[in-house]
């Protein structure tokens, strides 16, 4: 059913889903770092930016095909992630958060100042992506492309989490000193977590470049990093489904609230014209708080509760 959506769905909805796909990929990467390895990062937007700019620059200035750009984005971002992971090895908690935030500020500065390479505050107009000569010049075509990438990412991460690497990550998150005692090389795995998480952020950035067609330093602010943090926490830390829930939630809920508001405006004429975008955002913030107070494990936790209640439904003890 998902596969047929572009044929009959509203382009507006298709576009939103495309944005969600990008968010899901980036959120999954971040979740690997924060949810599974317990390393908090406020610099995710900077990594996405690196990926986005790599693709933008390579596709416009060098004219590389999409697969090369994607890999390059992932690769370059991963290398930078590796580079950030090493000095951050000794840091934890709030200190790590600050360091990653500082990193974000520095990257922002570099992008704006190195105008020759990045276009600075003029931004970059990204050429349309084409798959082996077949141009993806509509939301519908991008939809398939993005869906495929997203599904691949989910599969990759799901498998990664099951391997030794994944278990090492979780060990570091839960009891890192004990993990070291039983032979887990914390240094290696922490850096690996940064690297892999950045790789996916880079891929997401590339997807973003191709989807938006135009990138600008102000698309990748600290606010975006905080948004991604929101996605994985509200969705449910340390779970793949949680990241997907969270990403979709953060991208779609504001639009949903708007749609509901507009619909109720039509049903109850007294409300017409009273709709103010601010209420939307206020409701959004309120929702986040309510969800978390209600269920600290986020949407995933709520989903779990719903599932259990369905299972237990006829028996109400």
């Amino acid at each position: 059913m998902l596969a047929t959506l572009p044929l009959w769905g509203n382009p507006y909805v298709i576009y939103l889903i495309n944005l969600s796909c990008i968010a899901v990929v980036a959120a999954l990467g971040l979740n690997l770092l924060i949810g599974y390895t317990g390393q908090i990062s406020l610099g995710h937007a900077a990594f996405i930016a690196i990926g986005a700019y790599t693709t933008a620059i390579l596709s416009t200035k060098v004219g590389l095909p999409f697969w090369a750009c994607l890999l390059a984005s992932g690769g370059v971002t991963a290398i930078v992630g590796f580079g950030l992971g090493i000095p951050c090895l000794r840091l934890k908690g709030l200190y790590l958060a600050m360091a990653t935030m500082a990193f974000g500020v520095v990257i922002d500065f570099v992008v704006i100042t190195w105008g020759k390479l990045t276009g600075g505050v003029r931004g970059i107009n990204v050429t349309k992506v084409s798959i082996f000569g077949y141009p993806l010049d509509s939301d519908n075509k991008m939809y398939y492309f993005l869906m495929v990438l997203t599904i691949l990412t989910v599969l990759a991460i799901k498998n990664l989490v099951r391997t030794r690497i994944g278990r090492a990550f979780i060990a570091i998150r839960d009891r890192d000193i004990a993990a070291e005692v039983i032979g887990v090389n914390i240094t290696a795995y922490k850096v690996m977590a940064f690297t892999i998480s950045s790789f996916f952020a880079g891929i997401a950035g590339a997807m973003y470049s191709y989807t938006m067609g135009y990138i600008h330093p102000e698309h990748f602010t600290l606010l975006l990093s905080v948004q991604y943090l929101a996605m994985i926490i509200v969705g449910g830390l340390g779970t793949i489904l949680g990241s997907i829930f969270g990403a979709v939630f953060i991208v779609l809920v504001p639009e949903l609230i708007k749609a509901i508001a507009r619909a109720s405006e039509m049903l109850i004429p007294a409300l017409k014209g009273k709709y103010d975008e601010e209420w939307n955002i206020a409701a959004f913030g309120l929702l986040i708080m309510i969800f978390l107070i209600f269920e600290a494990n986020g949407l995933y936790g709520i989903w779990g509760r719903i599932k259990t209640s369905f299972k237990n439904w006829p028996y109400t003890y």
Binding site: M1, V13, I17, V121, Y214, E218
Partner: protein, 399 residues
């Protein structure tokens, strides 16, 4: 895997049901209404730049409805979507307006970033619009549906430098630039540098002032240290106010302080008082207290709709000006109103006068370039307003 697929499917299904399937039929126009879209920032840190503007746009069209029954027998309805100044939101809003609300076109798709992100969509859906931004890329290369207005940042600052050399007759002025590291700031600084070079003079200082700066002391002190005579600021209104007040504190009075359109508003004089006494700003709209017929109408409309707390009044004037252009275009297109007829109507504008709100507007089928003209305004501290110093002028042709 199955569970997840099912969940995703359910969610999507729910969404699609809630958000209706696209409408069909003649776009945006019925027997007695014209539906227009508007994408402009209403929330977030730069809301102050979008609200007065959009309100002006809506008010003028409402004024047409109330006094003339609309245009050609059709009343105009405006649907204003907020984009919080974020490009993805602007694109989403555009898609919503077209596919769900079925608007004829959008008055504007927002700021420069948003318009750039929407270029594809503008061309695909044929949306004649007037961007709320001043980038060269909007008309060079030619964009069939974008009608640029105003003066690009480059033109504004070139006029300023021209003024220093030609009007103030300086031979070797010491010029310093204070700018924000944003699009307008960096473009402005580079334009000043380039133009000054063309006159044979190098800039003495180039200082960045961060947007959220709590204090401008180091910048002012550096300018004083370098004995700068003319300070050109490429800053929004709040940092300009911070700058002027800091300069006042240090008793730093260069011959003049220049500013561009976003900072040239009565608010500067209201907020800074004496500190703005040697401020000269450029803008491509008339000042709020002008006595030209167009501006008088603006004040009339503001009073009619009870706009007592507008904030940046120059933006309200701007908004009305943009709607004046659309209103005239609707008139010229007549009853046969489609995106293409609207575009053609706009292209018949030849020195179209808005009565002093904007300089005369001209568009042809080959060029939608803006007029690139500005007026200079100086601060009238006693009356807390700006007064015009010059008439409309363009940057000089440099050999």
């Amino acid at each position: 895997m199955k569970g997840r697929g099912m969940w995703m499917g359910l969610l999507v299904f729910f969404l699609v049901c809630l958000l209706a399937i696209p409408c069909f039929g003649q776009r945006g126009v019925t027997k007695d209404t014209i539906k227009m879209g508007l994408i402009l920032v209403k929330t977030g840190p730069v809301a102050a730049l979008g609200l007065p503007n959009g309100t002006g746009m809506v008010d003028y069209l409402q004024y047409l409805n109330d006094t003339a029954g609309g245009v050609a027998g059709r009343k105009i309805e405006v649907i204003w979507e907020d984009d919080s100044f974020e490009a993805p939101k602007s694109v989403a809003a555009l898609k919503k307006l077209i596919t769900r609300d079925n608007v004829l076109t959008v008055i504007t798709t927002g700021g420069s970033q948003q318009t750039m992100a929407n270029l594809e969509n503008i061309n695909q859906y044929k949306l004649p619009n007037i961007p709320n931004a001043l980038m060269k890329e909007f008309y060079d290369p030619f964009q069939p549906y974008i009608f640029a207005m105003g003066a690009t940042y480059e033109a504004q600052f070139e006029c300023i430098v021209d003024y220093i050399f030609n009007d103030l007759k300086e031979k070797n002025p010491r010029i310093g630039v204070v700018y924000e590291k944003k699009e307008y700031g960096i473009k402005g600084m580079e334009a000043v540098k380039k133009r000054a070079k063309a006159y044979g003079v190098d800039l003495v200082s180039e200082l960045a002032l961060p947007t959220g700066a709590v204090d401008a002391s180091s910048q002012v002190l550096a300018l004083m240290n370098d004995k700068v005579d003319y300070v050109v600021t490429c800053l929004l209104l709040p940092p300009t106010i911070t700058y002027l007040k800091t300069a006042e504190k240090y008793n730093y009075w260069p011959k003049h302080v220049f500013g561009f359109n976003w900072a040239t508003d009565d608010m500067i004089v209201k907020a800074c008082g004496e500190a703005a006494k040697n401020y000269i700003g450029v803008n491509f709209v008339g000042a709020w207290w002008d006595e030209s017929p167009g501006i008088k109408l603006v004040r009339q409309i503001a009073q009619k709709y009870n706009r007592t707390e507008i904030g940046l009044t120059s933006l309200y004037v701007n908004g009305i000006g943009v709607s004046m252009l659309f209103g005239e275009a609707f008139k010229r297109a007549g009853r046969d109103l489609t995106p293409d007829s609207l575009k053609a109507a706009l292209e018949t504008f030849k020195e179209f006068s808005t009565g002093g709100v904007f300089p005369p507007a001209t568009y042809t089928s080959k060029s939608h370039a803006p007029h690139e003209m500005v007026k200079f305004f100086k601060a009238d501290v006693a009356n807390k307003r700006l007064v015009a110093l010059t008439d409309w002028r363009k940057p000089k042709e440099m050999k």
